[in-house]
């Protein structure tokens, strides 16, 4: 186990800068999720941490050691790849023990360590098979076995669940969380799946265009997104953005949008400086409830999407489309007017020009 410090890391491919001055500090035993869309630089950053790719500047410090010039094998890390990268010609047993074999660990110790890892992952019965004879989930377990057997300072996961079907993905996600709780090893985990980020991470770094947009605990990222990109990227359905002018009325703030006004009675942000200016209100779909108490929004029902436990209602509010997550029994008719009560304490205001949270 060890801490991880990423200090001012940059990476350029020719004239294209894919990582711009990345700074992250991760505590010992922490679980850092690098989250972002394709091409945001998250996998490149992971490769730089692993030593598989060199950086164009900055430092990687694992524990107390600067590992910039250290070969991947000497960084005491283990990595699980998206493709699993199991050696196809070797048995599962040899795959798991390969790192120990290369480090000249004696066969008895190797055997016992492999058995221990296999037992932990419940793959003892697969040890003599070849990777080609395993299912996706089993391969995933073997890849994890190969990582944990070495007892590394740092686990690196590169989108490990992307190749699994939806059900197995949920199972393996739980498995990874359980493993982390049990081993307590520091983890860096790359994904584009926000659910994985929210459920697994102790810290989440949302990336875009080689820049960290926000680095915080998952709940903070969800509740107080640093900008509109983060707000829109996290959450499903995504956060609603309601544009309007911030005004002062009856001693409080209101958001004037079209002909209507939304009183922001319980707003937690200090938005006094924006009075009289255009802002964007970020409203999570689950903070909109059918009813007319408190601050309300009224719109025309455009689409109704029942999902089982909930119903997604897409409303046209003065020309702006908003999604509300309502109960499964609340199914309004298309075209009818619907009034929603808004939990204004959960509203985030953004500057429409910079996209940043006010």
């Amino acid at each position: 186990m060890a801490t991880l410090s990423i200090k001012g890391v940059r990476k350029s491919f020719g004239s294209v800068e894919v990582l711009k001055n990345i700074d992250i500090d991760l505590e010992d035993g922490g679980f850092l999720v690098l989250l972002g869309p394709s091409g945001c630089g998250k996998s490149t950053l992971l490769s730089i941490i692993a030593g598989l790719e060199s950086s164009s500047g900055g430092d990687i410090v694992i524990g107390e050691r600067n590992v910039n010039d250290v070969h991947p094998k000497d960084r005491n890390i283990a990595m699980v790849f998206q493709s699993y990268a199991l050696y196809p010609t070797m048995s599962v047993r040899r795959n798991i023990g390969f790192g120990l074999e290369m480090r000249k660990v004696d066969p008895q110790t190797r055997e016992s360590e492999v058995n221990k890892a296999a037992e932990m992952l419940q793959i003892e019965h697969l040890l003599d098979r070849k990777p080609g004879q395993l299912s996706g989930g089993q391969r995933q377990r073997v890849a994890m076995g190969r990582a944990i057997v070495r007892d590394p300072d740092l686990f690196l996961f590169d989108e490990p669940l992307s190749n699994l079907d939806a059900k197995l993905r949920v199972e393996m996600r739980t498995e990874i969380k359980r493993l982390h709780d049990r081993l307590g090893t520091t983890v860096v985990y790359v994904t584009h799946d926000q659910i994985e980020a929210m459920t697994l991470g102790t810290r989440v770094a949302v990336m875009k265009g080689g820049v960290i947009q926000q680095l915080a605990e998952p709940q903070t990222i969800y509740e107080k997104p640093a900008n509109m990109f983060v707000a829109g990227f996290i959450g499903s359905p995504t956060m609603n953005f309601l544009a309007g002018r911030l005004e002062r009325a009856d001693g409080g703030l209101v958001l004037s949008h079209g002909d209507a006004a939304l009183p922001l009675t319980e707003l937690t942000q200090d938005a006094g400086a924006y009075v009289g200016k255009q802002v964007v209100a970020g409203i999570r779909p689950e903070t909109l409830h059918p009813g007319s108490g408190g601050s309300t929004l009224t719109g025309t029902v455009d689409v109704v999407e029942p999902t089982g436990p909930d119903t997604m209602v897409i409303l046209n509010v003065g020309g702006q489309m908003l999604t509300a997550r309502v109960g499964s029994r609340d199914r309004p008719k298309l075209g009818e007017a619907m009034t929603l009560s808004v939990d204004t304490a959960a509203i985030n205001l953004f500057d429409p020009d910079s996209g940043d949270r006010i």
Partner: protein
């Protein structure tokens, strides 16, 4: 009053519709055999018949320059003669040396070239084409070219070796029993190593890069990666390439025919060359047939044993 229009009289041909018959036949299990028939006939005509004819020839007396002996069946006479024929044993030994040395060198150089070209450095595409050039040359052309280059009087290689001080005087490489086989093997290696390069390169493209990244992290060095990842993953391709090259080398006498004709003495006499000379110099087709059958059986045994030993079928 018009006459009633009667239908034409029914004949036996009314029930026969060729298109419908083919359609019905295509639903039966005989259809498969029918489709295979043209290729089966072609293979029988150009492969099976000559092979069987060659085999039966080995059991007959068939000497074009001794018509007095006739063409009677002699059963195993040629095979018995072979056992007591010192040239046969020399040829067999030379064949083993010729094939194993050539293939070992071709594989080694082919592998190194493929690994180098697979690094995708600038210029490797052009280099890949240049490296493959020798393989595009026909054996006869390559043979004559090297015979000229190694010529004892005007060969450029002798000239270079003398000028660089590596050789005292010009050497007749193919006239010395000590160097003829080695020189021929070098020519053969130069000519055919691109075959291995080509196949191994194709195989290397199929190995996922993630395996090498994982191996890097696991602590496997370049040699360990080659031994434990690259070569095992190329096993099937290497096995196929070796079998094809062995068949080619055992069966084709052309390069040696041009370079040495089996000489000096019998120092480069191989089985294919011996069979060829037996047939087209001595006109003894019966004995040449027997030599060919022995080569055929040896190749079959080799291919079977090699596939079993390399465990290609297990993956």
């Amino acid at each position: 009053m018009s006459r009633a229009a009667y239908p034409p009289p029914r004949t036996i041909w009314d029930g026969i519709n060729p298109i419908r018959m083919i359609g019905e036949l295509s639903e039966t299990r005989y259809w498969m055999y029918l489709l295979l028939l043209p290729s089966a006939m072609l293979i029988t005509a150009v492969v099976l018949y000559p092979t069987v004819y060659g085999m039966q020839m080995s059991f007959r007396e068939m000497r074009l320059n001794r018509p007095d002996l006739g063409t009677d069946w002699v059963l195993f006479k040629h095979y018995a003669r072979m056992l007591a024929d010192p040239i046969f044993w020399t040829s067999l030994r030379n064949t083993a040396v010729w094939v194993t040395s050539s293939i070992a060198l071709e594989f080694l150089i082919g592998l190194i070239a493929a690994l180098a070209l697979n690094r995708n450095l600038p210029g490797t595409k052009l280099l890949a084409v240049l490296i493959l050039l020798p393989y595009f040359l026909p054996n006869v052309v390559a043979g004559h070219m090297w015979a000229l280059m190694l010529d004892p009087r005007m060969g450029v290689i002798n000239d270079l070796l003398v000028k660089t001080g590596l050789l005292v005087g010009y050497k007749a490489w193919f006239a010395d029993p000590a160097t003829a086989m080695a020189a021929a093997i070098i020519v053969e290696t130069w000519h055919s190593f691109p075959f291995f390069t080509l196949l191994i390169m194709a195989g290397l493209k199929g190995i996922p890069a993630d395996l090498y990244k994982a191996a890097d992290i696991d602590g496997a060095g370049a040699l360990a990666q080659l031994r434990l990842i690259t070569l095992p993953m190329l096993k099937t391709i290497i096995a196929a390439a070796v079998i094809l090259r062995v068949i080619g080398l055992v069966n084709s006498p052309d390069l040696l025919l041009i370079l040495t004709s089996g000489g000096p003495g019998r120092s480069t006499q191989v089985l294919s060359l011996y069979a060829f000379q037996m047939a087209y110099k001595d006109f003894n087709f019966g004995y040449a047939g027997a030599l060919s059958v022995v080569m055929f059986v040896l190749l079959m045994l080799f291919a079977w044993a090699y596939i079993r030993l390399s465990k290609v079928n297990q993956d």
